[in-house]
């Protein structure tokens, strides 16, 4: 299949995800959680997806896996479009997810072995009991859990260990692609580093491709090859990880990067933060034109008229801003 090494593993084309919200009796309005995002992820690459709460980053991850049926748009895996029940089920053996909260994403009534084994049962991947057991132990070994943990329950573990169980479950079907939805944000700093390293090691060992969703920009920068910045359902900027930190072009990315608290007092004191005024508008009442214009220090009347096009500013650096040429 892979005659071309550069062909992306995952292609997302103009993905839209609207939710109907009841606004009165018999009245609904669409909440545009994701409003036309396109990107691709190469094999073995990690794409970081950052943005503030409510920007739609988690929804993107879930829509790709068809946990929500996308309103419109396409998801392509390895050159084939994911469409229809059978294709979706098959796709889910290739693409899995690690969830944010290791406390609520594991069933408290199941043992660790059953949690990790469930995807194997659902997709009938093991022909007999012995094979299943061996596979579970192998997975536990991958994520640094001992075999004696197999018969325990999730509540007996610390946050970091629970996240390891969640990762083992995601690895069970032998996927190529994992959506990691804020996998380390519930963990303490010292534990966070352990889990991040494990993601790195698993990628090297198993050749995995990640979509890494997070709001902690220091973590995303560390783990990602490229980073996409989302705001109110749109991707506003996409570039190489180092590039987007050093030369952000979109005014939102600029303020986001400058707002990261740097753990170095001298830099932190000298750092000129671009503090945005106001809050993120509700996606139910998204501004016309450019979604960011209500908080943008550079907004003009033109920004209210048309949605800015997402175009390449320099090689591999995409940005959606009307005034990108003038303000940089």
């Amino acid at each position: 299949m892979a005659e071309n090494m550069d062909r992306p593993l995952i292609e997302v084309k103009d993905l839209k995800q609207y939710f109907n919200i009841n606004t009165g009796v018999f009245k609904t309005r669409p909440l545009k959680a994701v409003d036309g995002v396109s990107f691709d992820i190469k094999k073995g690459e990690t794409l970081g997806l950052v943005g503030e709460s409510g920007c739609g980053k988690t929804t993107v991850g879930r829509s790709i896996l068809h946990l929500y049926e996308p309103t419109s748009g396409e998801v392509w895996y390895n050159g084939t479009k994911v469409e229809g029940k059978a294709a979706i089920k098959n796709f889910r053996t290739k693409a899995t997810m690690v969830f944010q909260d290791p406390y609520s994403s594991l069933n408290p009534r199941m043992t660790v072995a059953d949690i990790i084994g469930e995807p194997l049962d659902v997709h009938r991947m093991c022909s007999n009991k012995k094979e299943r057991e061996e596979r579970i132990l192998e997975l536990m070994d991958h994520v640094g859990l001992n075999s004696e943990h197999a018969s325990r329950y999730a509540h007996e573990f610390s946050g970091g260990q629970r996240q390891r169980i969640g990762i083992a479950r995601a690895l069970a079907v032998n996927p190529d692609f994992i959506v990691c939805d804020e996998p380390v944000s519930a963990l303490d700093v010292s534990i966070q580093a352990q889990v991040i390293n494990m993601f790195d090691e698993l990628q090297d060992k198993l050749g995995l491709t990640y979509l890494f969703i997070a709001h902690d920009l220091l973590v995303v920068r560390h783990i990602s090859d490229r980073i996409a910045v989302m705001y109110l359902g749109h991707i506003v900027e996409l570039a190489d990880a180092a590039e987007i930190y050093e030369r952000p072009l979109h005014p939102y990315s600029k303020s986001l990067m400058s707002a990261v608290p740097v753990p170095d007092p001298k830099i932190a004191r000298a750092n000129k933060r671009i503090v945005l005024t106001g809050d993120i508008p509700s996606p139910l009442n998204a501004p016309s034109g450019c979604a960011f214009r209500t908080r943008c220090p550079y907004a003009t009347d033109a920004c209210a008229q048309a949605v800015p096009e997402f175009k390449e500013a320099s090689t591999g650096h995409f940005v959606a801003c009307h005034r990108v040429g003038e303000i940089n």
């Binding site: 303490d188 966070q192 220091l218 560390h222 180092a242 707002a259 740097v262 753990p263 750092n271 809050d279």
Partner: protein, 341 residues
């Protein structure tokens, strides 16, 4: 005299499983107009320290021993009557979660005015004026209109501003901020931190900033305390702690944070998991996870030692290097099993 003086504070929770020593003999001082950061992981005792100062511990919690002096006045054992004059008036606290710290059934104005009338002898009209003034101070637009709204009508960042307005309404000497921005987004966090910093300079109060985020500490704090398992590992000025850490835990913490330099490289995590507070070891609580742990670390806890005027640490490694370069004489070091040197 220091504004706040905490001496050898021990706070425990008496649970069915046994005594949990959440705060285990900590001492520090806070001067007027300074920002003190307390950093540590979950379960390190940083919040319990704050709750002990305010004496708002859960019913199973108790200050076992030690002293907390506010402007020379002893608060431990002073009684509820005295504490009522302290809380809100002289020491205020804001909590992590602005979503649950406001009462959803009252308007924001009502809650602000309640705090003001309770702690000062202003009448309702004066309290209303003060409340509006406070909302304006924390940059809330149209404060008169906002007074009549309920908490659900505000975003997370605005609710945290209201909490700050409420905490500052009676001009406290000390503001304790318990993870004030952890529940907020990065750009909103920047707004709130900027606001706290400018209010602190304007009003000249002292802040105790409790956080797990070393980035927030670097941005806000003059002095830093690093806590682990209920004890202070290290304390000193922000520059000393960040640029020349003298405790293995602090060093490990600094190494484990991702940065521009670590991209594409392995992070250096601290191995293992935090210890169980029910089964505290005799020696240094960090010894089971410490790469440099020596024999002495597992049997005896290192006492607090001055590194210089701005820096103190409790780590045997400093004694070791002191002996090696001749600044400490080995005869001067006496060790008691399970106790302090």
């Amino acid at each position: 005299m220091a504004l706040l003086e905490v001496q050898d504070l021990h706070t425990s929770f008496f649970t069915d499983a046994g005594e949990v020593r959440a705060v285990n003999g900590i001492s520090f001082q806070l001067d007027r107009g300074k920002v003190l950061g307390i950093v540590g992981e979950s379960g390190s005792g940083k919040s319990v320290t704050a709750y002990s100062i305010m004496q708002i511990l859960a019913s199973t919690g108790k200050i076992v021993s030690g002293s907390i002096k506010l402007d020379g006045q002893e608060l431990v054992g002073a009684g509820e009557k005295v504490m009522k004059t302290v809380r809100g008036n002289r020491v205020s606290i804001i909590f992590q979660d602005p979503m649950t710290s406001l009462n959803p059934t009252y308007t924001v104005g009502h809650q602000l005015m309640e705090a003001i009338t309770l702690h000062t002898n202003r009448n309702r009209r004066e309290a209303r004026e003060r409340a509006v003034e406070m909302l304006r101070l924390v940059n809330i637009n149209e404060p008169e209109k906002r007074m009549k709204q309920y908490p659900y009508e505000f975003s997370g960042g605005m609710r945290q501003r209201i909490m700050i307005a409420m905490a500052l309404a009676c001009e406290p000497d000390i503001l304790i901020a318990d993870e004030p921005t952890t529940a907020l987004d990065v750009t909103i966090q920047a707004q709130i931190l900027e606001l706290m910093k400018s209010l602190q300079q304007e009003l000249g109060m002292a802040i105790i900033m409790i956080t797990h985020d070393l980035g927030v500490v670097a941005q806000m704090c003059d002095e830093v305390i690093v806590m682990y398992a209920g004890s202070i590992c290290e304390q000193g000025t922000a520059d000393e702690i960040f640029y020349s850490p003298k405790h293995e835990y602090t060093k490990g913490l600094m190494r484990s944070i991702p940065s521009a330099d670590t991209a594409g490289k392995k992070l250096q995590p601290i191995t293992g998991t935090p210890i169980d507070l029910l089964n505290m070891p005799d020696g240094c609580p960090f010894a089971p996870r410490c790469e440099g742990a020596m024999k002495i670390c597992t049997v005896s806890r290192c006492p607090r030692m001055e590194i210089n005027a701005d820096h103190a640490s409790a780590c045997w490694m400093n004694v070791k290097s002191g002996i090696e370069n001749g600044t400490i004489k080995i005869e001067d070091v006496t060790i008691q099993e399970g106790g302090e040197a």
